[in-house]
Subunit: 286 residues, 2 copies
């Protein structure tokens, strides 16, 4: 069948695949100095946030992404107190990070204030921890922020970026990664969204592993999980550690987590670390 104009579509033409949601209304449209932001009301997926024509999130399915980009790293680091989020302007990552009572400060650095303003208006549930006294929201260049930050001043860095083109391109480069490595403490961890296992294994994922190792990280692992609204519906987060074995995590703490999640739990964490056979060589190299 052909989809009529009740459908909003994102075509990923490089791979000949498209994802569509039925929408009833465009709620917001804005060209910021950095990006084109749109918000739609969908029929079954709540609201839809689009940047430069790509789905960023829907109200209904963003939980898998936000939870899997935050909790595995925070339960892998032995005692994460200082968290830095690069990107993440929708504030959903900040909310997940601040669920951890041990976190003492979480700094979010997104270049585009427009994303956060749109999130506050249309996705208030993602912004419910923005006023937490431990939170700092900065609207600035993440690459420069990391360059200027002090050595060993952060425990976990989460790179919640758009795809590695446009404003986010620098966040996938080795110069940035070397700075991240430098500002992390001894047990420091970096986690970065790393696109689709089935679409990007031999391109973005392979390159990212190489760049992270080149920047000095001793271990790099990729976790897989579903994100219905991203190309292929199958996504990944890649975690890089300065020391220790990052395939191990504080399982007892994860099992006794003092907060609610919708996807993440200790079993899911362990499961996400299992590499599909076709990704085994890349994802689980030690």
């Amino acid at each position: 069948m052909t989809l009529d104009n009740r459908w909003w579509s994102e075509a990923y033409t490089d791979e000949g695949v498209a994802f569509s949601l039925q929408v009833t209304e465009k709620l917001h449209e804005e060209q910021t100095p950095f990006q084109h932001i749109e918000v739609y009301q969908s029929t079954h997926w709540g609201k839809l946030l689009v940047i430069d024509g790509c789905v960023m999130l829907t109200s209904r399915d963003n939980f898998t992404y936000h939870e899997m980009m935050s909790h595995p790293a925070l339960f892998t680091h032995p005692n994460p107190k200082r968290v830095l989020i690069i990107g993440g302007g929708d504030c959903g990552m900040l909310r997940e990070v601040l669920k951890h009572p041990g976190v003492e400060q979480a700094v979010q650095v997104d270049i585009d204030e427009g994303v956060t303003r749109a999130a506050q208006q249309f996705f208030p549930e993602l912004c419910e921890s923005n006023d937490d006294p431990r939170a700092t929201l900065l609207f600035d260049d993440g690459v420069q922020y990391v360059k200027d930050a002090a050595d060993g001043s952060v425990d976990v860095v989460i790179v919640d970026s758009t795809d590695p083109v446009g404003p986010a391109e620098g966040l996938f480069g080795e110069a940035f990664m070397r700075d991240v490595h430098r500002i992390l403490g001894d047990d420091g961890l970096l986690v970065q969204q790393s696109e689709s296992p089935i679409l990007h294994r031999d391109s973005i994922l392979k390159e990212l592993h190489g760049v992270m190792r080149g920047a000095g990280f001793t271990q790099v692992v990729t976790m897989q999980f579903p994100v219905c609204s991203y190309p292929s519906g199958w996504w990944s987060a890649t975690m890089a550690g300065k020391s220790g074995d990052i395939t191990q995590f504080r399982r007892a703490d994860a099992e006794a987590k003092p907060f609610r999640t919708h996807y993440y739990n200790a079993g899911i964490h362990q499961g996400a670390l299992a590499a599909p056979e076709f990704c085994k060589e890349l994802f689980s190299d030690q």
Copy 2:
């Protein structure tokens, strides 16, 4: 954006979501006594098999589905020799089952010979074990076949059906399940495709768990895995056991499997058994 006529789309209007592939040619179209079959050439996903307007499989991504519907059950049963596949006319499940050297007979019962003929022509790789001396291909009503089969005559039953509407509706009912329970041996296992965790938890999945228990199965577990070309990109298989703990499997045998897979391995098996937090109560009930 709007998708033009170079795209083939499946709209799942009940949930306001659609999946599209860019196609270059319709290779086949046929109305059988049971179903409407189409085959398309896609730009990036190989060939696309469509039944009654729904994606059945693509050349590129069918491996997750076929492997996760077969190998977990076959590595859970202590010694599976006699396997029955209900549906599965594309023969991809049969191929996976026959990778297990211990399997002595695999019977495939699909009501529609048209599907197998189309698979032989357009997906020959899925049919490469059709001539295995252990294989029997029948084109008949699976519900009736199970009704007529002898008590305790099968070790593993795999229900590889279309959605629970139309020809496949009976395969989700309790009368059928009771017959499956009866024809299974003491350690017998049933595995059934059970749709999307995010779309069907409270409908098909919940009902299926109830029906399986009602039919006498002592344990029912749902495994999750990606299937890019099915609605939401996130799919499940539900396994029901007559006895024993089906969350345990022959891990050493899975680790030493004498055949190649593309997705499945022991770690993936274990990981698929982990229930997402929002499905925990249903998926992992003991």
